[in-house]
């Protein structure tokens, strides 16, 4: 079981309030991703849940029990750190065994769990090596193994993939998702990478300056962002935001159109502009259109066969029903 509830949890460092009081419910078995730009307090929030930081206000309930003043070890959570935090002088086997040894588990059970974890994580051949002799991806798997064997009620991941190269990151992303499907344990995952958030999460929590901007499924955030911040943060490439006359036309202070919801044409359309940089990826093409008088550049995504190049004059047409409207506070107009 791993139901985690935050009730009015706040964190202050001296006079600086990094997390104003917030409420959050994490259901058992959910894969929740905390996402936000760096410095938004997502790691701090995770550390509050882990018990590595004390809350300044509010309560943390784990499975309905108040865990606010419990020590990290007693909360039954396991954490995977950004730096992996493996014990460098211990072999992989001893690293994985460490939490069980601390719990005083008997040797046979320890061995059984180590074997199972090593098999699941492809570490069987590396059990007697030291962490220093492993690659980044393998170290990451050892860190996950050390978390699994404790059979925690929830896993906490603190930007676990940010030290890996791009190819490995995609692979580990899949492995973690598979792990979640297999174990069905609650996972809380912190990242600044919205692609990781979109691909892995059941529920995304978008944080900005310590506040929760929106909680929802990846598609909900993509289709109905609550405000301009979420709209700009979720989706890649970023949503185009316009203010001024273009927005006033729709009765809003700001409007947003995703790059994939703008049609590009060499002959006719709503807004005129000139192609700046164009990126042809084969499956897609991205055009950065300048001189529209609406914004610095407008990003447009179209299919790979559209053949337009630097300096071409083009016309852009947004898909009307895909335009997001925001009021003066940046909140969504329904």
């Amino acid at each position: 079981m791993g139901r985690i509830t935050l009730e009015g949890v706040a964190k202050r460092f001296g006079d600086v309030e990094v997390i104003p009081p917030l409420n959050l419910d994490i259901e058992d078995g959910e894969f929740v991703v905390f996402v936000g730009p760096s410095g938004c307090g997502k790691s701090t929030l995770l550390r509050l849940i882990a018990g590595l930081e004390d809350v300044s206000d509010g309560r943390i309930l784990i499975d309905g029990k108040d865990a606010t003043d419990e020590s990290p070890a007693k909360r039954g959570l396991a954490m995977v750190f950004q730096s992996y935090a493996l014990y460098p002088h211990m072999s992989v086997r001893k690293n994985i065994a460490f939490p069980m040894k601390m719990a005083g588990m008997d040797q046979a059970e320890q061995d059984r769990r180590i074997e199972a974890a090593a098999k699941a994580l492809n570490l069987t051949n590396y059990l007697d090596r030291k962490p220093g002799q492993l690659s980044g991806g393998q170290r990451q798997r050892v860190a996950i193994g050390r978390a699994i064997v404790r059979e925690p009620s929830a896993f906490l991941f603190d930007e676990p993939l940010s030290n890996l190269d791009a190819a490995l990151r995609v692979g580990m992303r899949l492995e973690i998702s598979e792990l979640h499907n297999r174990l069905k344990t609650t996972m809380i995952y912190v990242t600044h990478d919205q692609v990781e958030a979109m691909t892995m999460a059941d529920k995304i929590v978008v944080l900005h300056a310590g506040r929760i901007e929106q909680v929802g499924s990846p598609l909900e955030l993509y289709l109905r962002p609550k405000n301009a911040f979420v709209a700009a943060f979720i989706g890649s490439p970023k949503m185009n935001l316009f203010t001024g006359a273009a927005a006033a036309e729709y009765g809003a202070t700001t409007i947003g159109v995703r790059p994939e919801h703008i049609a590009i044409s060499p002959t006719a359309g709503k807004w005129q502009g000139r192609v700046g940089v164009s990126e042809h990826l084969g499956s897609d093409s991205f055009f950065y259109v300048e001189d529209t008088g609406l914004a610095e550049t407008i990003t447009v995504r179209s299919d790979g066969e559209v053949n337009m190049h630097h300096g071409d004059t083009v016309w852009l047409t947004p898909t009307e029903d895909k335009i997001h409207k925001f009021d003066a506070n940046g909140d969504r107009i329904q």
Binding site: A73, F81, A85, Y87, P88, F98
Partner: protein, 289 residues
């Protein structure tokens, strides 16, 4: 990577330094070796003659010889024990952020700046003196008879003084090591349910192993040659209770003016030091790679 030209040039450039060092080391060693086979007494330099192994035999049969080797061992091991254990404890204490941290750290390190004879004299006259030392005052306050440290526990007193001097060095090295410990590792261990003493045993201590090795190796080199502290406090006494090998050699050379005997003692000390060095490198050197 060096090409053949740069390699030979490098050999040429470093030759003067190496040759100078070699001379610096080899000449005194050769002279000591030579003197150790002579009957050479400063009271009668004209009567210098070849002695063969007599000096070695004489030094070996001196009852003070084994006592001094034992004292040297006790002194070195005693000081190492106090400084390593104390150094780890103090390093852990001052690693935590506290009010006035900078001043506390400077105070902790300051004994290292005091010259050995001065430190020993301060301990002798102001701290351990049986009638006006601080320890005597404390003993009197509790109604106990003051201890005459240098008469009753001469070697232990010297160990205490030397340990006091070397504690800052150990603390400093161990503190830097402690500060390089990854905070996330400690947090991971905390989440893994390791209580404070387990974290110390399984994480902090292995992490500091290399620093502890450095402390032991460097201190041993200096502790084998402790001399000034003995000279200004007990003068090796009572009897030979606080005479180490260095002091024994000093006694032969400067009190008996027996250069030949002292040289033989010096050679024996060199051999013993090398034996200790081999054992040390075997025992702790593997932590250094």
């Amino acid at each position: 990577m060096a090409t053949r030209q740069t390699a030979s040039l490098a050999r040429l450039m470093r030759a003067p330094a190496i040759i100078l060092l070699l001379i610096w080391m080899a000449v005194p060693l050769a002279m000591t070796l030579y003197y150790s086979f002579l009957n050479y007494n400063l009271l009668n330099p004209a009567g210098t003659s070849w002695a063969g192994w007599f000096n070695y035999q004489y030094f070996y049969t001196d009852p003070a010889f084994f006592a001094s080797i034992w004292n040297t061992l006790v002194l070195v091991l005693g000081v190492l024990f106090i400084t390593v254990v104390g150094g780890i404890a103090i390093a852990i204490l001052i690693d935590k952020p506290i009010f006035g941290q900078g001043i506390v750290r400077i105070l902790v390190i300051s004994p290292f700046f005091v010259m050995p004879p001065v430190a020993a004299l301060i301990w002798k006259n102001m701290i351990m003196h049986p009638s006006y030392g601080v320890f005597a005052d404390i003993a009197k306050f509790f109604g106990a008879a003051p201890v005459d440290w240098f008469a009753q526990y001469p070697l232990f007193s010297i160990i205490l003084i030397v340990a006091w001097q070397w504690l800052p060095f150990a603390t400093l090295i161990l503190l830097t090591s402690l500060q390089s410990l990854d905070g996330e590792q400690m947090e991971a261990a905390e989440m893994d349910g390791a209580p404070a003493y387990s974290r110390f045993l399984y994480l902090v201590l292995p992490h500091m192993a290399r620093a502890i090795t450095v402390v032991i190796l460097i201190q041993t080199i200096f502790l084998l040659g402790i001399y000034a502290e003995i000279l200004v406090t007990t003068n090796g006494g009572p009897g030979t209770a606080s005479t180490n090998l260095t002091f024994l050699i000093y006694r032969a050379a400067r009190l008996n003016f027996d250069i030949g005997g002292a040289a033989a003692g010096g050679i024996i000390a060199v051999i013993l030091t090398n034996i200790v060095a081999v054992f040390l490198m075997r025992a702790v050197g593997k932590n250094l790679d």
